[in-house]
Symmetry: C2
Subunit: 549 residues, 2 copies
């Protein structure tokens, strides 16, 4: 049987565009004599529509689109993802389904069993779990149709508790007991820098354990925070890769289930290269899918804004990016020079706006309220808010989107000004710790100096008062990031961190900062996710609470 | 059997304080010769701790607190809510449990069956569902111990689809088949202005249907956005109310299951009074539980800031509130006068800061970028951002919290400036449509004029340009709010609204504004929830998407 893997980039809710893409892949598969073409999870509506799934008109549009697509399935079959109604009057009203389309109509519907509801996943909010494990017979072959998490029964649960299985039912067990010839998996598996290996391990182990080939089709492209990396696969029943599709772009391939030549497993891409590609895709899809072209940001001469600019230029082209330099009396000359050097190196237009006069007018206006009080964090925040307001004025006047340049270390400890440097439509680096920002910057510079060396080498500073350095109020980033990673990404306890050798006072200070700043992160922009634990909707913490320390 | 209902206000994660409160209620119940005392859902940790439940140290602290509480249960039994470990290696690692404490130790643990995972509820994210329906025998009585949603099997599912039941198993059915003498229900049922009636209806019907008395103990107090209203109940097996506890405050009562005299069902409180009490509790718990005393806001002379101020003063006392008046050249004299009149009427300190000079300095700084372009929305936003920055400067300098004054109509259509008037630690009115703001303001004034009549009567205006009125760019609020309510709260489709008589062009404009402004609401402050569909984590919409229109 000749099977096409169609790895496409969908736009959530855009039924006309998504259907058009799906139909053109069906036509291509027909032209190339495929018997069957497979799409990814919820392909007709894009993953993840969230509470749009609670709107009747959304489901109606999805089902109409499926019907339109089915009409093209003559002489070929297709498996397309979409929501379907639960016919039982009990339970959630929808299933997360795979529609098997043949002879111009829906032949059967297969539902997802394991509904991830943790981290960034929210599927039990909308879907009922499948209990029917019927195989499909097609061209003399028995096919098991599964959806994403259905293959992840044996995942190691990544948290402090160390469980065996997150679910009670193993869909692979249920299906494979009926000896399918092939397992098909429609996925929407978001990128994180560990995910590629994890995912391959799971697929290879499943194929080997059940001695069944698996075809896995993932979506590609970014949906606000989540970046899907593609990398669709066919694995044979020995657990060897037969076909691997591209990462971070659309792809299409045909495999023959009878004639399987092993392909070389592509070597895992270097982490920095993966993160680079993911962030560039994240930015470009954010803009393309929301109908914007042009980005701005405040270029300070520091490393965060420098790296953000490089990524923005890769994603949007230098002609679509324009930056503001907003020095104050506390900005060093080299900062301005570094910023200018980078803008010129990248061919990016820039404007310089001094914040001095505005800061003075704030001082004047507030003088009657603040009389006799010395300058403190208040005035530092005012500077950040003036810059934030200037950038927003620029976006308002000319239709740009402001990119936020905060990193994960700053977001973690609240080292940033709400309504100031925390402004932006999208946080590009908000899931990279400062040490990872350095690492990615060095990677950018691996062949030639793009980010000025001085920007990378000088001690990090917010430059909001004379001679200020980040290390005045925070531990050095090597130490800070190590503690943050263990506490946030690994969910290790304070006591556990102290026991493993971190200084108690430093740990308590850092953890207290993390917990106290939930209120700031609550109002932060959406953040491109590249790790397995990003701030945002994958980490839901109460604001008004006492945190154990 | 004498049973005490302990309706307490918990602080999420504050095990020492919560245990202390629970223990003192146990001692009081003992002193009053009760046999059993009942607390609310997750009482030991407060509802809802969210992803703090993923931290091992949090669960450990909860279990230690339960043990400490159990030590006080001699000569009395208690039912306390808290998380417990799932002993099976499969499934989620926790249960949402009720601990039956007797003879100084945990006698049995009973788990929640129905895990609400919709709107503001996220319980399947953390908990496995119960499958064991064993009754407890105590003092010759058979008790069924249930948790909140367990009684809500027969709820009408509030959405566009119209389902019969949201769940497959009915815990009441399972328990009542064993003929319990009493059903106990530990709850954390958040307030919305329809909830009190809904909840009573559910309880009365359940009691009548299964001919069993029900004791329902709810928590009281606000947890950031969610406000719990108490109103714990005992209903007899005829479905008649035997005892009803206070709303919006802690309460304690003892009922005798053998000697049941019917109590008068308190008349349902008037909606405005309920909303008033809910918002005052919401503000005061936000401050108390996060350790702050003092609030500020920008008082414009308009109705939203006026109402917010009245509520803040009720919650915190006039001595803890100080407001800023920040007129511009577009502010009318009567606005300033109305603001001053209200501040003086409430005995609230105020300061006036002109934004004119700052606005000029922004104009000057931006002149080289904006040369030749006329003033537009950009400059209106700058005014709002100057005010937002001044308010934040005031909070930074003196340790205040800024209260946000936006209403739900504005939040819905994006009629507000991000990083400007959308600033604040807590949105007080963000779940009240503008027409509801008027209604509550008139209620405030029912006995005497507190909010200046002029503030209520004049046409709403942002006063960001000469002679501006909200109705220049929006439909009149009566119409706007009607459309918003149907589209957002009732999830009705555009076509459905048009079919029911709304003007098509107006509906399409309003709905398009709602959808286009997800990005703004994403960065809005947490909002006190009073309706059954508030913006925030109870309504999760993608930002980058095409919405069906």
């Amino acid at each position: 049987m000749r099977i096409a893997l169609a790895q496409l980039n969908y736009h959530v809710g855009n039924f006309p565009k998504n259907s058009e893409r799906i139909i053109s892949s069906i036509e291509r598969a027909k032209a190339e004599n495929a018997d069957l073409v497979i799409f990814s999870e919820l392909s007709v509506c894009g993953y993840y529509p969230n509470d749009m799934l609670e709107r009747l008109e959304f489901i109606t549009e999805a089902l109409e689109a499926i019907d339109r697509i089915a009409a093209h399935c003559n002489g070929i079959a297709a498996v397309v993802g979409g929501p379907s109604f639960n016919p039982s009057p009990k339970g959630k009203m929808l299933y997360n389904s795979a529609f098997f389309l043949q002879d111009g109509k829906i032949r059967s519907i297969h539902h997802k069993t394991l509904l991830p509801t943790y981290d960034v996943f929210d599927e039990y909010r909308h879907f009922e779990s499948n209990k029917d494990f019927t195989l499909v017979e097609y061209k003399g072959q028995k096919l098991a149709i599964t959806i994403c998490e259905d293959l992840w029964f044996n995942q190691k649960v990544m948290n402090a508790f160390g469980r065996e299985n997150l679910y009670e039912t193993s869909p692979m067990e249920e299906y494979c007991r009926q000896n399918p010839d092939l397992v098909i998996n429609l996925s929407a598996s978001p990128f994180s820098y560990h995910q590629e290996k994890l995912r391959k391990d799971i697929l290879l182990e499943d194929a080997k354990k059940y001695r069944v080939p698996i075809i896995y089709v993932n979506q590609v492209g970014a949906q606000t925070e989540l970046i899907f990396d593609g990398g669709s696969l066919m694995v044979d029943h020995h657990g060897k890769v037969v076909k691997e599709l591209a990462y971070f772009r659309e792809d299409f391939a045909i495999v023959d289930t009878l004639d399987q030549q092993l392909c070389e497993l592509q070597p895992l891409t270097e982490t920095n290269e993966k993160i680079y590609q993911a962030l560039v895709l994240g930015i470009s899809d954010y803009f393309r899918k929301s109908g914007f072209q042009k980005a701005t940001l405040g270029l300070s001469g520091g490393i965060d804004s420098a790296l953000t600019l490089v990524l923005a230029v890769s994603a949007l082209g230098s002609e679509n990016v324009k930056v503001l330099l907003m020095p104050s009396q506390y900005s060093s000359d080299h900062s301005v020079n570094d910023a200018v050097a980078l803008a010129e190196c990248l061919g990016v237009a820039y404007e310089t706006v001094s914040i001095h006069g505005i800061a003075e007018s704030f001082d004047e206006a507030l003088a009657p309220l603040f009389h006799g009080l010395s300058h403190d964090l208040t005035e530092e925040n005012i500077q950040a808010r003036i810059r934030g307001s200037l950038l927003m004025a620029f976006t308002n006047k000319f239709g740009y989107i402001l990119l936020n340049t905060s990193n994960k270390s700053e977001a973690a400890v609240g080292y940033g000004t709400l309504y100031g440097d925390m402004n932006g439509g999208l946080s590009v680096l908000g899931d990279l710790y400062k040490t990872e920002v350095y690492s990615l910057s060095q990677y950018i510079n691996r062949n030639k100096e793009i980010i000025p060396l001085n920007t990378i080498l000088k001690p990090p500073s917010a430059e909001l008062r004379p001679g200020q350095k980040d290390s005045d109020s925070l531990p050095e980033y090597e130490l800070l990031d190590a503690i943050l990673y263990e506490y946030i990404d690994q969910a290790r306890s304070v006591q556990d961190l102290i026991d493993s050798g971190f200084d108690e006072a430093v740990v308590r200070k850092v953890v207290s900062l993390v917990n106290r700043n939930e209120y700031k992160r609550f109002q932060a922009p959406p953040t491109l996710r590249v790790s397995s634990k990003a701030f945002g909707f994958g980490r839901k913490m109460p604001i008004v609470a006492r945190y154990p320390l």
